[in-house]
C-alpha cells in the first residue's frame, strides 16, 4: 500500500518542481531604480496585452503584425536602467537573473561579451518544438536591461517587426554563401 502512494507522491513532487522551475520572475528592482538616471518599467500582463491589442489596428499591416505576435503571450516585462556613473549595479545583481535561468527548460541561445563591456545574453524557454518564453539580459557599464516575454514567441516574428513603428531594424544574418561573395 505504501509503495504506490510514495510513487504518486514522488511523481507529483517532481512535476510540481518542474512547473515551479520554469517560472521566471523579475524581482523588485527598486534599489536600482533609485540609483538610475533613467528608468523604463513596462509591465503588461495578459489582460493589459489584450487591452493594448484591442487598440492596434487590423488594417495597419505593422500593427496587425504586433497584434498577431502578442495574441498568445501571457505577459511582457521590461526593466531598463541607465546610470550616470559606472558600477551602480553589481555582478551579483546580474547573476541573480542568470541563476533563475539555470532552471530546467531554459537555455541560453546567445551570449556575447565585448571588450567595451557590452554584454548580451538571450535565453529561451523550450516548450516542445517552440519557445515558451524569451529573456534578454543586456548589460553595459552604465546600463542594465532585462526583458521577459512570457508565452509562445518566435524570435523570427520579432525580426519581422523590425524596421517598423520605430522598432530598430534587424538585419538578416549573412549566410556563408553571402560571405564568400563578399
Amino acid at each position: 500500500m505504501k509503495q504506490p502512494f510514495l510513487k504518486i507522491l514522488l511523481v507529483g513532487l517532481s512535476l510540481s518542481c518542474l512547473c515551479v522551475a520554469e517560472e521566471f520572475k523579475i524581482p523588485d528592482l527598486e534599489k536600482l531604480a533609485q540609483k538610475a538616471k533613467e528608468t523604463v518599467d513596462v509591465t503588461l500582463d495578459q489582460s493589459m496585452l489584450q487591452l493594448a491589442s484591442g487598440f492596434l489596428s487590423k488594417d495597419d499591416p505593422d500593427e496587425a503584425k504586433v497584434k498577431k505576435l502578442v495574441a498568445k503571450l501571457k505577459g511582457i516585462y521590461v526593466r531598463s536602467f541607465e546610470f550616470a556613473r559606472e558600477g551602480e549595479y553589481s555582478a551579483a545583481d546580474v547573476q541573480a537573473f542568470r541563476n533563475q535561468l539555470k532552471q530546467p527548460g531554459w537555455s541560453r541561445i546567445v551570449g556575447v561579451k565585448s571588450v567595451e563591456g557590452e554584454n548580451t545574453e538571450v535565453y529561451v524557454l523550450k516548450n516542445g518544438d517552440q519557445f515558451g518564453g524569451l529573456v534578454v539580459l543586456a548589460t553595459e557599464p552604465k546600463e542594465f536591461t532585462i526583458v521577459h516575454i512570457d508565452g509562445p514567441i518566435n524570435p523570427e516574428d520579432l525580426a519581422e517587426l523590425s524596421g517598423h513603428m520605430g522598432i530598430p531594424e534587424l538585419t538578416k544574418p549573412k549566410s556563408k554563401a553571402d560571405k564568400k561573395e563578399e
Binding site: 523604463v40 503588461l44 504586433v66 546567445v110 556575447v112 534587424l170 538585419t171
Partner: protein, 100 residues
C-alpha cells in the same frame, strides 16, 4: 297621465338618503390619497440622473480609451527595447565573425 309619465315621476321623486350616508361618504373621501401635481424638482432630478449616467458612461469610455492607448504605447516601447537589444547582440556576433 300615461304609464310612462307615472314611471318617470316615481323615478325622479325626492327620497331621503339612508342613515349615516353623509358621514360614510365624508370618511371615504378623507381616506383617499391626496393627488398632488408633479413638482418640477422630480423632473430635474430625472434629467440630472440621466445626465449623470450618460456622463459616467462617456467618462468610463474615455478612461478605457486612455488606458488602452497607454498600454499600446507601453507595448511598442517594450518591442523597441527588445528589438534594439537583439540587434545589439546580432551586431556583436557579426563583429566577432568579421574579426575571425
Amino acid at each position: 297621465m300615461t304609464p310612462f309619465e307615472e314611471d318617470l315621476k316615481k323615478a325622479l321623486a325626492k327620497c331621503e338618503p339612508p342613515d349615516g350616508f353623509t358621514e360614510r361618504l365624508a370618511e371615504r373621501i378623507a381616506s383617499l390619497p391626496a393627488r398632488k401635481a408633479s413638482p418640477m424638482y422630480w423632473r430635474w432630478a430625472a434629467v440630472a440622473a440621466a445626465a449623470a449616467i450618460l456622463f459616467g458612461g462617456v467618462a468610463r469610455e474615455h478612461q478605457h480609451h486612455l488606458e488602452g492607448e497607454a498600454a499600446k504605447e507601453k507595448l511598442l516601447v517594450a518591442m523597441r527595447i527588445t528589438s534594439s537589444k537583439l540587434q545589439q547582440a546580432q551586431q556583436q556576433i557579426e563583429e566577432v565573425e568579421r574579426k575571425q
